[in-house]
Symmetry: C2
Subunit: 346 residues, 2 copies
């Protein structure tokens, strides 16, 4: 992995590496008073409320560097945290990033990773304000914490869904999961074949991008605000629609009924599922990593939500005794199950 | 490592494990509006300024579980972040903790770790408000982010030291480093001997505690406030006095002169250094992990600072052209060097 033109991390040392990675970072948000370079970052939120979310990404568990470019990985690590802040109806403002790197990584590798993080920060208007770098005996470790702000009366929690509310989801589901399946297959094929291997990625750019370079739905949050809609409950879809919907229902003490035919699925996702002989709806319900917004709104907002292009109404909230249910295309009722995140059992 | 009465993490799954670890957590700070259980924690700092600090601790780099009890490790992981907030003259208020655990850890192990984190939170009045748990292929990974608050006009940065300021340090230095040396030696001895091994820890409790269960100097911050002293610059000593003092001098564009004979060193530290045939002053200057406070105050505060029991004046700030210098006991001048953190080169 080490290229002779690249720089061993030991030639810079910790402080040199941090200097190089954080050079030229300018703070853009008025709430960022002090960034990298002291014991803490200093933020000022005046009368706003402060949001904090954090994520730990581990090589071999959350990402595989054989098919994940480091720049994409950095971009994704930042964006998935922004997504958590938007899912509260907030605005991400600051980011801290700590990384652990083993000897097989050079300074240029870490710069690539940081280039992705900094690009995400630029696009979403977030300030990188701190973090640290450390050696690791085992591979790449990325820990990201995002701080955001929100108006007291506009934050949306998971526990506000009420009977008869509409269940909405943005974008489409299952694509990131099918992108991962494709990447895994091509990796296996590339190991078996020798010289002339060309991964079969043509016409599958969408699902690959959904896996490798997801975006957070800032646009949906802005659209909801413009339409004057405040969701009653909201989450981002990171573990899969089923799991997230059950979180909202449990915390709100309600049931739900969604309709299979209304679950938004992209054409490429469907083609890929068929090629892999996988159940398409299972992929959409349990695939995860979609980073779409799942939210509920009062029935009275039906017209407004129905006119939003990037949002689809997929069902409604029910009384708790009706459970968590999906009506299939042929009219049968299925109980939703949270597959969620099962890495401990694999 | 697995005990038959203990519980495999896979039997609980991610959400079950989080539920178990966060059960009974009560929020104590008015600024903690919402803790674990949504996309973000929600904090409210009104007119205060918000401090954020983060740390990533990796098995095999930052800790060794052969001699670090998990509860102590959790306690230390939290406290070192509190220390960063105090070093800004702030008060820590909230903590998020993400952990990655490999299969050799059971639920009970992680509960031990959390017991230490929660004990630290209780003692320092900090709310645990979020985080996540994840599988790891490689060992234990702990990522901690602490959020604190401070009054706008009371925060202390690293860049405020001025010529003629007094350089002060709390407690004593080098003990945590000597504790680590002792633990490393006993581990080596225990591997070589067979059955009847008893580590030689008697009379060395202080240096062991400094390594395994450090405290943050909240008391010094409170004492300074009571005495009406606002330091001109401040840091906590995590990488060693030399390195931290040079950070302050560089950021403040000043030089410094400290006196070897004034560096506070505990008796046990000195005995241990002699036993190991190590240079005592080097241990105190470069040992690290002391978590004492290093700060500068105007010369006019001399009397007040001199009367503080847990603080020692070790030198003074000079003009930048005088460099970073230590006067030894025999009157010679040594240039300070930042040994700092060198894990990348080992």
């Amino acid at each position: 992995m080490m290229n002779p033109q690249e720089t061993e991390i030991s030639t810079l040392g910790e402080f040199g590496l941090i200097d190089r990675l954080t050079k030229g970072i300018e703070l853009k948000n008025a709430s960022s008073l002090k960034g990298v370079g002291d014991d803490c970052a200093v933020l000022n939120y005046g009368e706003k409320q402060t949001l904090v979310t954090t994520d730990l990404l581990l090589e071999g568990i959350h990402f595989d560097l054989t098919y994940t470019p480091l720049k994409h990985l950095g971009y994704k690590a930042a964006v998935v945290n922004f997504s958590d802040v938007y899912a509260m109806n907030g605005v991400p403002r600051q980011l801290t990033v700590s990384i652990g790197v083993s000897k097989r990584f050079t300074v240029e590798h870490i710069e690539e990773l940081y280039a992705g993080i900094r690009l995400a920060c630029e696009i979403y208007g977030v300030d990188l304000v701190g973090g640290d770098t450390s050696a690791s005996v085992t591979g790449l470790i990325i820990s990201v914490t995002c701080i955001g702000e929100g108006d007291k009366d506009k934050l949306v929690y998971r526990n506000g869904a009420r009977d008869t509310d509409l269940i909405c989801v943005s974008g489409d589901l299952g694509a990131a999961y099918m992108g991962l399946q494709l990447l895994e297959r091509e990796r296996t094929v590339s190991k078996e074949s020798k010289d002339d291997f060309h991964p079969a990625f043509e016409g599958r750019e969408y699902i690959l991008e959904r896996q490798l370079k997801p975006e957070a739905r800032r646009d949906v949050i802005e659209e909801l605000a413009q339409a004057g809609i405040k969701p009653t409950a909201m989450m981002d879809v990171s573990d899969g629609l089923s799991s997230e919907l059950m979180h909202i229902c449990k915390q709100s003490n309600v049931g739900c009924r969604i309709y299979e035919e209304r679950i938004p699925i992209d054409y490429q996702t469907a083609v890929m599922a068929e090629e892999f002989n996988m159940n398409l709806v299972t992929a959409a319900l349990n695939g995860g990593e979609d980073y779409e917004l799942l939210f509920t709104v009062p029935l009275t907002e039906h017209e407004k939500v129905a006119s939003m292009k990037s949002v689809k109404i997929i069902g409604r909230i029910t009384k708790p005794e009706l459970g968590y249910c999906m009506e299939t295309r042929d009219g049968a009722e299925l109980e939703l199950r949270a597959q969620g995140w099962q890495a401990f059992t694999h």
